[in-house]
Amino acid sequence: MSGAPLLAAFRQSLGEAWAGGAGALLPLGFLGGTAVLVPLGIGTDAATLKAVGPGIIWVALALASLVTLERIFQADTEDGTLDLWLQAGAPVSALAAAKTLAHWLSAGLPLALFSPVLALMFQAQASPALLVNAGLYALGSLAFFFWGGVGAALSATVRRGGLLISMIALPLYVPTAVFGALAMSGGPGSTGAPLFLAASTLCACAVAPYAMSAALRLAAD
C-alpha cells in the first residue's frame, strides 16, 4: 500500500479546515472568548484566577475540539466524498486518522500554542513552565480530537449530531482531563501525571482510528 491516498486525505482535510478563512480560527476565538468571560464570571481575584486558569483552558480545549469536529465526517457523507474515500484502496482507519490529524493540526495545535498567552491572562507567572504546559495541552488535545473523531464518525449521518458527539466523546475525555489537570496542579502525583497523559493519548491514537473506520463504513452502508 502506498501512502498517496493518506497524504491526499490529509491535504484535503487541511485545506478544508482553512477554506473560507475562519474555519480554523473558530476554536481560537472560542478559547479567547472563554478567557475573557471567565474573569467576568468569577471575579478578578488574582489567586482564584491563577487556581482555575489551567482547568479552564482544558475545558475550553475539550469544547473547542467538539465544535470543530461536528462537521468533519458529516460533510463528507453529504457531499459524497466519503464514498470515494471508502473506495480509495487505503485502510479506512488510516484515512480517518489522517483526517483527524489534519484537523488537530489546524484547530488543536494552535490552541495549545496559544495557551501561554491565556495563562498570562489568568495571572500565571511568566516562566518556562508555561511552555511545558503548552506541550501538555498539545498532547491532551490530540486525544480529544481522536475521541471526538469517533463521536463525529458515529454521528456522520445524523443531522445536528453535535449533541450525540458530545455524549459519546465526553466520557472518553475523562482520563485526559484528569491527568492533564493533575500534571499542572503541582500537587501529589503530579510528577507521574504527564506520563499517564501521554499513555491515554497513545491509547486514543491506537484505538480511535479503528472505531472511526467501523463507524464510517456503517455510515456509508
Partner: protein
C-alpha cells in the same frame, strides 16, 4: 454483446435466443443479491455480470433499489444475501458528486489523481469534459451540470475496466449527454464495461437492461 443479466425470479436465459456468449471472464458479477430496507424486501435473487465491452443498465421506478444495488456492486453497502465478485478495479460516480464546496474542478481532479497515483494530467481531462472555463471556480458556485461533469471527469484520470454510474445524465445538457455517450462508447471499445442506473433515458447501443 450478450450480457447475462437476470433480474429477480426465474427467467432462465435462453441460449438459442441470445447471441454467442462472450468467452471473456466477467469483470464484475453479483450472484443471488438480495436487499432489505426497513421491513421491505427491496429486491431479491438478482444476478448479473459484465464482461469487457458490455453495458448493463439498472432500470426501475423510484425507490426500486437501483442506487442500492449499485452501491452493493461497488462494495459500499453490504447485501443481505448473495455475493459480489470484483475481478477488476472500478470507478464510482454516485448521485452525490464528491466535490467539496470550496474545491475547484482543477483541485478536485488533482487531488484524486494524487490519491490514486494516476499520471494523467488534469488539463487534457478538463478540456475533454468542457470544464476549461469553470476550472478554477469553487464547487459551490458551479452549476449542477458543471459539478456532474467534474465528477464524471474522474473517469478519465485513470484507466479502470469497470465504471459504476448512478444516473450519469442528471443535470447534463444535450452537449454533456453526447459527451458521456462518447466516453462510454470509447471505454467499451477499449474493453471496459459499464453498469449504470438509468431512469427513462434510452440505453447505450447494445446494452442490456436489468429491471428491479
Amino acid at each position: 454483446m450478450a450480457a447475462f443479466a437476470r433480474a429477480a425470479e426465474p427467467a432462465i436465459p435462453d441460449p438459442m435466443n441470445s447471441q454467442a456468449p462472450s468467452l471473456l471472464s466477467p469483470l464484475l458479477s453479483g450472484a443471488g443479491l438480495g436487499m432489505i430496507r426497513g421491513e421491505r424486501v427491496l429486491f431479491r435473487r438478482v444476478s448479473l455480470s459484465v464482461r469487457p465491452g458490455e453495458a448493463l443498465l439498472l432500470r426501475g421506478s423510484n425507490g426500486a433499489g437501483k442506487t442500492t444495488l449499485l452501491r452493493i456492486l461497488a462494495g459500499l453497502t453490504r447485501a443481505e444475501t448473495g455475493e459480489v465478485t470484483r475481478a477488476a478495479p472500478h470507478h464510482w460516480v454516485g448521485h452525490r458528486e464528491g466535490l467539496k464546496p470550496m474545491e475547484t474542478p482543477r483541485a478536485h481532479l488533482k487531488l484524486w489523481a494524487e490519491a490514486w497515483g494516476a499520471r494523467t494530467g488534469t488539463d487534457p481531462v478538463l478540456t475533454r469534459m468542457g470544464l476549461t472555463r469553470p476550472a478554477d471556480v469553487a464547487g459551490r458556485d458551479l452549476s449542477a451540470g458543471q459539478r456532474r461533469r467534474t465528477a464524471l471527469a474522474r473517469l478519465l484520470l485513470e484507466d479502470r475496466p469497470v465504471w459504476l454510474l448512478d444516473e450519469p445524465y442528471t443535470a447534463l445538457d444535450a452537449d454533456g449527454r453526447a459527451l458521456i455517450d462518447a466516453l462510454i462508447a470509447e471505454h467499451r471499445a477499449k474493453g471496459g464495461a459499464v453498469i449504470a442506473a438509468l431512469h427513462g433515458e434510452a440505453g447505450f447501443p447494445g446494452s442490456t437492461d436489468v429491471t428491479l
